[in-house]
């Protein structure tokens, strides 16, 4: 299993929430707005890609265990 740059989904979600709260509280000035929204869209895209754009991948591990011959 690969340990790539792991997206911390929850962190992404937290950051998104922060941006959203900022927006809703109308605390952001317009200059900041575009930066934040860009960041939000980026995070969303990143998460979505990681979740959707990977094929289902299955890997098998076999460790033989003795079993009674007629059991299966």
């Amino acid at each position: 299993m690969s340990v790539k740059k792991e997206i911390k989904y929850l962190q992404a979600m937290q950051e998104l929430n922060q941006i959203l709260e900022g927006l809703q509280a109308q605390e952001l000035d317009v200059d900041e707005l575009s930066v934040k929204v860009k960041r939000a869209v980026e995070l969303i895209k990143l998460c979505r890609e990681r979740i959707e754009k990977t094929e289902l991948e299955v890997k098998k591990i076999v460790k033989e265990f003795e079993e009674e011959p007629n059991d299966k």
Partner: protein, 444 residues
Amino acid sequence: MDSIFENIPKVFTVLELNTAACAVLKRGFPMPVWVAGEVQRVSDKGHIYFDLVQKGSGGTQVVAQVNAVMFANIWAKVSNKFKEAGIAFALKSDIEVKFLCEVDIWAKGGKYSIKILDVDPAYTLGKVALARAKIIEELRKAGLLEKNKRLDIAAVPLRLGLVTSYNSAAYHDFINELAISGFGFSVEVYDSLMQGENTQNSVTAALNHFSGFAPGELDVIVVARGGGSKADLGWFDNKKIAETIANCSFPVITALGHQIDTTIADLAANLTVKTPTAAAQYLAARVKAFMDDLVQRETDILRSCAEALSGGRVSLQNISLRLESDVSGYFRLHRERLLAARHTVAARAERVFSRDQQFLTAAAVSLEGTLNKIFKNQRQRVQYSEGLIQSLDPVNVLKRGYSVTFKDGKAVKTISDVPAGTTITTMLVDGTFVSDVKETSPGG
């Protein structure tokens, strides 16, 4: 040898002996008997062979044991009975069971054994339940029932460790359901035995394998088992498996394919679902929930952004409107003030003018009067002066008979100027004459 025995005519073959012993035994046990004991060394070869053991009060020492066999047809009947009662029952080691059995000697082997005819579910279950309750209590005391539940299942559980029998129905149900979701799940399958005596070793090895992953490499471990026979569920009423689940470093989801019963393994798991399909659905739903949340956040952010912008635009508009009205108000006010001021100034000026005009008119009138007076006065004075001057003109005086006497060119004004003998010149109006003074007399 004792002579008494020499008279016994019959000589048995071994088989005859065994058969005869068996007959005696059967006469001694004309009816089947109930025997309770602990099952050990189960061997399932179609027919199930095992040892029925009696243990000492300590629970470890074997006091007595007997070989037992349950033929396949009996096992089928018994399984069915348990199944109908809705009870998970597996004939496995360490459980205490009450069997109805026939005592038997296998003629060929000469071995004494019991042949199982039936199982008493009530007794067996009572014992199973007791043993089970004991295990559960031990796990509970050790805090192992809650241990795995304290691990949070990842918000996006995409990397899965699957403990199941590879290629089994459970495996396919699980994988197919994941594939349907369309999410990028990554599954590592550990091919395990999900029934039989080796279930414990196989499943714990699989769990330990996945538990050894580094944090962040795996999200969830799923233990999945297909429909199969209900009896086989009993393999998961297992303390070792439960302990291993509890100690896993990742959340464990059990999906053992049963509808009603909960195994001990289930109790120790983070989450228990009924079927492998349900487990896959749960995971996919969790990922989808995250995705939906993501979409919701996205919508919210864009909407809030639009609102913030339009809010800004509106307030700008408001400000500019207010500014406009303020400015025009300011100008209007000042224009009004200017107009008023102009009126005031004009009115005051007019008042001043009219007052001054009156004054001037009056002044002019009075000035004229004064001037007239002055002129008249002056004229009078001039006339008077003229008269005076005329009267003073020496010519006029001379005309009136007066004369002027000069001595040496100077007018004589006193008698002392002309002592006797002085030559004087006297001027009359029409000529002069010279004379000598004879005598003088002072006084006028």
